[in-house]
Every structure is written in structure tokens, then in C-alpha cells.
């Protein structure tokens, strides 16, 4: 691999970090270095092949379990009436949530000019696309006849039947489809100039031809950049309300049901905050090892991690507040079913799941009040794993205890996932990481053009001599 500049001390130990979102990259000297270093990490390594093989193995296990389920029926999935939503819906909500941080980082933080996003947004955006691709599979896996999933799409058909547009499940179809379309478009549009960089450096004629097609003949003209910048801005503006709307719509799947623990107006903001929280954790899970393995510490600096840690701390406080408000409303509302449900959630049969959720999502993130821990990548990585687990259990706590402890005591039951559920859950991680690992070695994991905007270009005259006040 080409020699890579070492991070400067001034960058990683800047205190107090008032301007923690600042975007200086003092160890990145010029634009040539940006291209050289970021394109060099695209060469496949043995560890990468091992990771890809593991991901494909996990995916294969999931596919096998799904085939078995199709053959045997949904009964093998551990459903126990009335608990007819289990691991699949939990995992669906989990993956949709993971996607949200990517859009937040790439779109909302772009509109707010939060500089720390620049070096992590491409990875986060790719994560969004692959997470939504994963999430979209789960409602289909959950169907008794998965091959009929397209009945939810309104298209002219010989049966003259249309979906029920007042059903939250149809809202989901539109919300997820829009989210996947816009996220993919946003990712691909941002990639076009970078693909042109790869095209211009490629020696292999076949790859060069493919990259020429993928870059749409991009030539870096001022005219192209002018329209590109507007398009990027508008796509960011479109994506911003999507961050809020998609998980709100997902939360309606629950909030529209008259089930204790679900029928509450707090769900949309609660779900959105939780989604951003879990998504940022997954960004850390991906970016922190990448930063270390690819030696990108002078791009993803401690200041960037510190700034993202503040976002995680903030969303953790919002989520924690939502948990407390849920308990408060159950008590204040005076509905006995609701009160019993929440008591059962924390001290009853599902206490272990609730306490995993509360510990991982409310208590452990409080450590981020410490600047020292916010700037400790090892701790952030450990915390990210804990939050990922905690957020999966948050959805478990929403879905399972509610359905298993409904308003009719004679219906109360229990729920235990089977090997099929666990295999498909593992397969979803395999599916996600397979795409992500393929992406890492095919496309630049950081936006070359945006990093070049941070690094000053070469000048003939010194800044003091320059006229025009540029």
C-alpha cells in the first residue's frame, strides 16, 4: 500500500473541543493525497475476503431457514397466538431504524453545514441503502405466502382489487419504497464524480468502460458542478422530512392498534429519535474498525467521533425521556390494562429484555458526558455494540410483551423464537454486511470531491497577496 501520512498530534488532542465539528484535516496536504490514499484502500485483502465469506455463510444459513419456512409454513417461526408478530417485525423495525442515521448524516447535517459529516457520510449513506434493503425483506418473510407481496402495490389488475389505503401496512409500502428510492438516488448521485475519478485512473480497458458508463461521462465542468450542487441540495432537502416521516409511518403500524403499550401518540417522535440513535451506533460499528484497518485516522479524526458522540448522547436522552414518559402516561392515564402491561414489562415475565433495553439505551450512553470517553474509539465501539443490542431489544419489548399480555387475561401467553427466527436474523446481518463489504472495495468509502472541498487547493500567490477577497 502507498505510504500514508500519519495523523498530527494537534488534530487528535485538541482541547477544549468547542469547535468539535470543525473540518480541518491538517494531515491531508493536497488533493493528490486524497485520491491516492482513499483509492488505495479499495484493493481487496485476505481479511476482506474472510469477512465476505463469513457474511455470505450467514446469509446462506438465513436463506436455508427461509426455504424451510416456506416449505413447512409459518408455524416453524415460533409464533404463538396471539403473538403473531415476532422476530421478523422486530428486525424490520430495527433495520429501518439503522438506516435513519445515514440519511441524517448525509442530508440533515449537510443542510446544517455540520462539517464532521464529510468523512463519514458516504459510509453512513451506503449503510442506509443496505439497511433499508434488508428491512424491506422482513415484511415479505413474515407473509404466509411471500410470493404475493406485490398485492400491496396499487397497480391495475384483472381482479379489479386495490389495496386499502387506510391501512398502515400500505403506508409502510409507500414509505419504505420512497425511502429506498431516494436513499439510493442520493448515494448514486454523490458517487458520480468519484466514479469519474476512478475512471480516469483505471488502466484495465474493461473496467474503464464500465466506469465510464457508470459515471455518465462526467467531466468535472463548472456547468456540471453547478447543477450537481443544486440537485444535491434539493435531494438533501427531500431526504430531511423522510428521516422524520418514514419511522413515524413505521410507528403507526403499532400506534394504530388498540393494544396496551402501542396505542400512544408519543410513538412517532420516540421511534424517530430511537432510529437516529441506533443508526449512529451502527455507523460507529462500521466506521471505527474501518478507520483503524484502513489507517484513516487522519480523515475520521477524534473531533469527528466526539461530535457524533454528542449526537448519540442527545438522542439517548430523548429516547430515555420517551421511556419515562411511557411509564408516566400509563400511571397517569389510570387504565389498569396499561398499568399492568408496563409493570409486566419491567418486573414481570419480560424483565430481562426490558432491563437490557434500559441499560444499553439509557444508562450506558450517559458515559458520553465524559469528554475522555467521547474521544476513546474503543469505548465508542463497545458502546455501539451495546446500543445495537439494546435497540433490538427495545423493539422486542414493544412487540412481544404487548401481544403476549393483551387486554384479555385468558389470551396471555409466552413467546420463544426458534432456530428459524435466529437463522433469518443472522442471515439479515449476513445480507447487510455482504453488500457493505462489496461496496467498500468497489467504490470510494469517502466522498473524494467533498474532502477536496475541505483541503485547500494549490495557489500561485499566498493568501495575503490574493486579490478579490476569495
Amino acid at each position: 500500500m502507498t505510504a500514508i501520512a500519519q495523523p498530527g498530534d494537534d488534530m487528535n488532542h485538541r482541547r477544549p473541543n468547542i469547535a468539535s465539528a470543525d473540518i480541518q484535516l491538517p494531515s491531508v496536504k493536497d488533493w493528490e493525497q486524497v485520491d491516492r490514499e482513499l483509492l488505495a484502500i479499495m484493493k481487496p485483502t485476505g481479511a476482506w475476503f474472510a469477512g465476505l465469506a463469513t457474511a455470505i455463510l450467514c446469509l446462506g444459513l438465513g436463506v436455508f431457514a427461509f426455504m424451510y419456512q416456506v416449505h413447512q409454513g409459518l408455524g416453524v417461526a415460533g409464533y404463538n397466538p396471539p403473538v403473531m408478530w415476532g422476530v421478523y417485525i422486530i428486525t424490520f423495525v430495527f433495520w429501518v431504524g439503522i438506516g435513519h442515521a445515514g440519511t441524517l448524516i448525509s442530508a440533515i447535517l449537510y443542510l446544517f453545514r455540520a462539517g464532521f459529516r464529510t468523512t463519514i457520510y458516504r459510509a453512513a449513506e451506503a449503510m442506509t441503502v443496505f439497511a433499508v434493503m434488508t428491512a424491506g425483506l422482513f415484511p415479505i418473510l413474515h407473509l404466509g405466502r411471500p410470493w404475493k407481496f406485490f398485492w400491496l402495490i396499487p397497480y391495475p389488475n384483472w381482479r379489479l382489487i386495490w389495496p386499502n389505503f387506510k391501512s398502515p401496512l400500505v403506508w409502510d409500502v409507500f414509505a419504505i419504497t420512497t425511502y429506498l428510492t431516494i436513499s439510493t438516488t442520493f448515494l448514486f448521485v454523490g458517487l458520480i464524480p468519484d466514479i469519474a475519478v476512478m475512471r480516469d485512473r483505471e488502466k484495465n480497458p474493461l473496467r474503464k468502460r464500465i466506469l465510464s458508463v457508470l459515471s455518465f461521462g462526467w467531466r468535472n465542468t463548472e456547468r456540471e458542478w453547478r447543477h450537481f450542487a443544486r440537485a444535491y441540495l434539493f435531494l438533501a432537502a427531500f431526504s430531511t422530512p423522510l428521516v422524520l416521516s418514514v419511522h413515524s409511518v413505521v410507528s403507526f403500524d403499532f400506534a394504530m392498534g388498540i393494544v396496551p403499550g402501542w396505542h400512544t401518540t408519543i410513538f412517532p417522535p420516540y421511534f424517530v429519535a430511537g432510529a437516529i440513535f441506533s443508526g449512529f451506533a451502527m455507523v460507529w460499528t462500521i466506521v471505527i474498525p474501518m478507520r483503524r484497518w484502513f489507517n484513516l485516522k487522519h480523515y475520521v479524526t477524534l473531533n469527528h467521533l466526539d461530535a457524533s458522540a454528542k449526537m448519540v448522547l442527545f438522542t439517548s436522552l430523548v429516547v430515555g425521556c420517551a421511556y419515562i414518559v411511557e411509564f408516566f402516561i400509563a400511571w397517569y392515564g389510570g387504565v389498569q390494562y396499561e398499568q399492568d402491561y408496563f409493570w409486566n414489562r419491567v418486573f414481570g415475565s419480560w424483565w430481562w429484555a426490558a432491563w437490557i433495553m434500559l441499560t444499553a439505551n439509557m444508562i450506558l450512553p450517559l458515559s458520553l458526558f465524559s469528554q475522555k470517553l467521547r474521544r476513546n474509539p474503543t469505548w465508542l465501539f463497545i458502546l455501539s455494540i451495546a446500543i445495537n443490542i439494546g435497540m433490538w431489544f427495545e423493539r422486542f419489548v414493544i412487540v412481544v410483551p404487548s401481544l403476549s399480555h393483551d387486554v384479555n387475561p385468558w389470551q396471555w401467553t409466552t413467546y420463544a423464537p426458534t432456530w428459524v427466527d435466529y437463522s433469518i436474523l443472522l442471515g439479515s446481518f449476513g445480507w447487510f454486511f455482504m453488500w457493505f463489504l462489496l461496496f467498500v472495495k468497489q467504490m470510494p468509502i469517502m466522498a473524494l470531491a467533498e474532502i477536496k472541498e475541505i483541503v485547500p487547493p494549490k495557489m500561485k500567490r499566498s493568501a495575503s497577496n490574493r486579490h478579490g477577497g476569495h
Binding site: P163, A175, T181, R226, A229, P241, M459
Partner: protein
């Protein structure tokens, strides 16, 4: 046939100076290349604002109207009253209006950008150098044959690392 002079620059301010002088002398149409967007070049070129916002607005509104329409039309097509509720209700149908507002508007924005930026470009064009996606700037001055020498002189005077005529 297109004919002109291409200057490759290593420094941003040299490029700006060359653009300003070429514009002042009105030698021909200019195309400026930059590996990353720079405001200095925007000011030097002084190009009009992108009209993309009009395309975005129109396509987004069309998407919104379609979203409401398809939900209302399908409901009225099969008017089954459930629980005494209205056949068509604007509140749940706002989900479709909003989602299609975003989806059609977003796709319209991208296709509008393609149209305005002149991409996809499927044919090879003159006046490009692979260094323009790396760390070099470029100025392509498309002009009449009798003005090529003057354009070349201006590009060289402002420090172009390479100047070449292309057609």
C-alpha cells in the same frame, strides 16, 4: 468542427486569472474544469443560477397530486363503508401525497440535473484531460482558428502547465 485551446493549471488562482482575461478578450466559449466545486471559479465564470428548482417544484407537485389522486380514486372505485367512516379521507391519504411528493420530486431533480448538465454523455468529446478529476484545473477555450494563438498566449502567460490545441 469544434476547435479550441486547452490549458491545464495546477493552481486555482492562475485558473481564475486566465478565465478572467479570456472572458475580457471575448475569444470564444469557455469550459472550466475543476476536481471539486470552488466558489472562486463560480465567480470568475459568472454563470446564471441553475433553473433546476423549477423542475424540482413541478415534478414534486405532480407526484403529490398523483399520490392523493390514486388513493381517492381507488377508494371511490370500490366504495365499501367500514365502521361508518368516510370513503375518502384526506388525513391518511396525506401519507401517499407526501411520499410521492418526495419520490417523484427527487427523481425529477436527478433527471433535471442530467438534462441541464448535459449528461449522460455517451460520445468522446474534445477538450478534456483525466487530470481534471484529480488535482488540476482546466480551461477549454473554443474559438475561431485565427484566435487560437492569442488564447494559447493567455493560457501560457497565466501559468498553465500544459497548453494544447484540440479539434
Amino acid at each position: 468542427m469544434m476547435r479550441g485551446m486547452l490549458g491545464v493549471f495546477a493552481e486555482l488562482d492562475s485558473t481564475v486569472d486566465a478565465i478572467e482575461e479570456l472572458k475580457e478578450r471575448k475569444l470564444g466559449d469557455l469550459t472550466v474544469y475543476t476536481p471539486a466545486p470552488r466558489h472562486e471559479l463560480d465567480h470568475a465564470v459568472a454563470a446564471p443560477r441553475s433553473p433546476l428548482r423549477v423542475i424540482t417544484l413541478i415534478t414534486a407537485l405532480l407526484g403529490c397530486v398523483f399520490g392523493y389522486w390514486v388513493a381517492i380514486w381507488a377508494s371511490e372505485y370500490w366504495p365499501l363503508v367500514v365502521g361508518g367512516k368516510a370513503i375518502s379521507s384526506w388525513l391518511p391519504y396525506t401519507v401517499f401525497g407526501f411520499e410521492l411528493f418526495v419520490m417523484v420530486g427527487g427523481l425529477g431533480t436527478v433527471f433535471g440535473m442530467f438534462y441541464l448538465a448535459g449528461i449522460p454523455r455517451i460520445t468522446q468529446t474534445v477538450g478534456y484531460d483525466p487530470r481534471f478529476s484529480g488535482e488540476h484545473f482546466g480551461v477549454w477555450c473554443e474559438c475561431a482558428p485565427d484566435k487560437l494563438a492569442e488564447a494559447e498566449a493567455i493560457l501560457r502567460r497565466h501559468g498553465a502547465v500544459e497548453v494544447r490545441g484540440e479539434r
